[in-house]
Symmetry: C2
Subunit: 326 residues, 2 copies
Amino acid sequence: MQIGVDELKQVTLQVLASSGYPPDEATAILEVLMYAQLRGNNQGVVKLIGAGMPRDKAAKAISIAKDTKLSALVNGGKNTGMVVLSYATDLAIQKAHEHGVGIVGTNNTNTSTGAIGYYASRVAKQGFIGLVFAGSAEFMAMDGSYEALLGTNPLAYGIPTAGKPIVFDMATASIARFGIVEAKTAGRSIPEGVAYDAQGNITTDPAAALGGAIRVFGGYKGGALALLVEILTHPLVSTSPDATGRKTDWGNLIIAIDPELLADQDTFEARVSAFIERVKGSHKLEGVDEILVPGERGDRLLEQAESSGVVEIDEALWSALQQAIK
Amino acid sequence: MQIGVDELKQVTLQVLASSGYPPDEATAILEVLMYAQLRGNNQGVVKLIGAGMPRDKAAKAISIAKDTKLSALVNGGKNTGMVVLSYATDLAIQKAHEHGVGIVGTNNTNTSTGAIGYYASRVAKQGFIGLVFAGSAEFMAMDGSYEALLGTNPLAYGIPTAGKPIVFDMATASIARFGIVEAKTAGRSIPEGVAYDAQGNITTDPAAALGGAIRVFGGYKGGALALLVEILTHPLVSTSPDATGRKTDWGNLIIAIDPELLADQDTFEARVSAFIERVKGSHKLEGVDEILVPGERGDRLLEQAESSGVVEIDEALWSALQQAIK
């Protein structure tokens, strides 16, 4: 069904208010959720239904645990990941403006940061190259194993161009954990080959997969990329394990790099745009109508939503979202 | 067959001398080639046979085109990529020692840098996190296309640990271009699904693949990673196209980051090592004897070669290498 973008935002803000978020935090979270929702990314308002994402009652003010000219380590004070990583993004941008590079890590956050392309796009909109890495709890097995030790470990980049930034975000997992949760809720099976059950058998049963482990994408290459994200979002940012030694603290790392460190900004952006045009104009495989560059599909959906003022939403999701206002 | 490591090094140095390299450059190249050769990586001395890698007669001294506290753009003066990226690695390490971050780009280089894990490992041995990106000429098609526009665009990382660094290097291509050249020379076919012919048909004929395009690894995710590497190794480092607008100048980017920007070095390294131990001890899939972390297989081969003083080498390769001394 179609609903008004403004109405969707109002309802989302009401859900966030009734989930315990003060207005400034609700606004920050709304931006992340709308980035995903209006671009057709599955990390949108669906996060607010079911168990939702109630504010941690023990949350304290965000603080800076370590600070240098180029870097900061942010103690999230158990605030929600979206609020903490938004804060870290501002800080990384500020440091890149002042010194050319900003590297900011976060720990002690309350789970998901949502679609991390959002933070990368904010960096790229400032004219900087953005790299974002997000850790999570123990959901995914290393290549060769079926024991969940790694997070699903997404990474994202944002690149400024002469037009819109190029923004890409991907899990190093072969399926998002959220996709498995959704399948279980809907009574659907999951695709073949993306997860193991607790005994190490490939399974299409989402319940068995949740008790087992997600597979990395792309075999050993995906496993090695997942390990890099793991190291950057846990040991490097000093997340704390829980009392049993398991990871429950979701760390993040964001890096902003000023292209002027190496190039002339305008020339760099023009050359990126020219290369993108060349890629888009390259010979297409049979059955391919258009070569889309990272972020392009989402950008179009967003433009459509912004110009029409309405957006397509699943009816059951919209109903559940309204019911999530307590 | 087995030959002495010292003998292999001596012959390699002789080939390099007869390829026009002065002793300091030959030593730098030898290190890169031996890193690959002794670790079982296919970017070793095979690069010196056949057309080999003669020194460009027009090569000039390496110079610095742009310099900031944190960064430098290196004009390679048409020197071989291995010599130029070694120089850039030293510079990135020096800047990271002084300021916490070093970001060095190269352009105007003479083709391949060899196994880029080598440069990442040098950064990691200094206690820094190393990221290395290498551009190349137009060999690979974007996901959805069959026109060669991208390089095979490898990336590498190096991470210091309490023991040996973790070093990983991978092409974002589904096969190295060199693997296709090797197959053609040997009269072998290439694996199904890794390359297109000039008409966009999947081909297993290496000659057709060389006239067509290599496929990215991992579908759209691999394509997006390849695009990132492309942007970091061409527009960002100001490579020059040739007179027809095609890329013939292979750029590189190396980034060194001091973990002390965010963490305590020893704690960081100990935590990385502890996580690696956990991964290695995790439940193995049936048929998997051991879970190897990135670089581990190569490290073992290198240790074996160093302790025994001998290394396994293909007889035809050894013969061709000796004949390459002019």
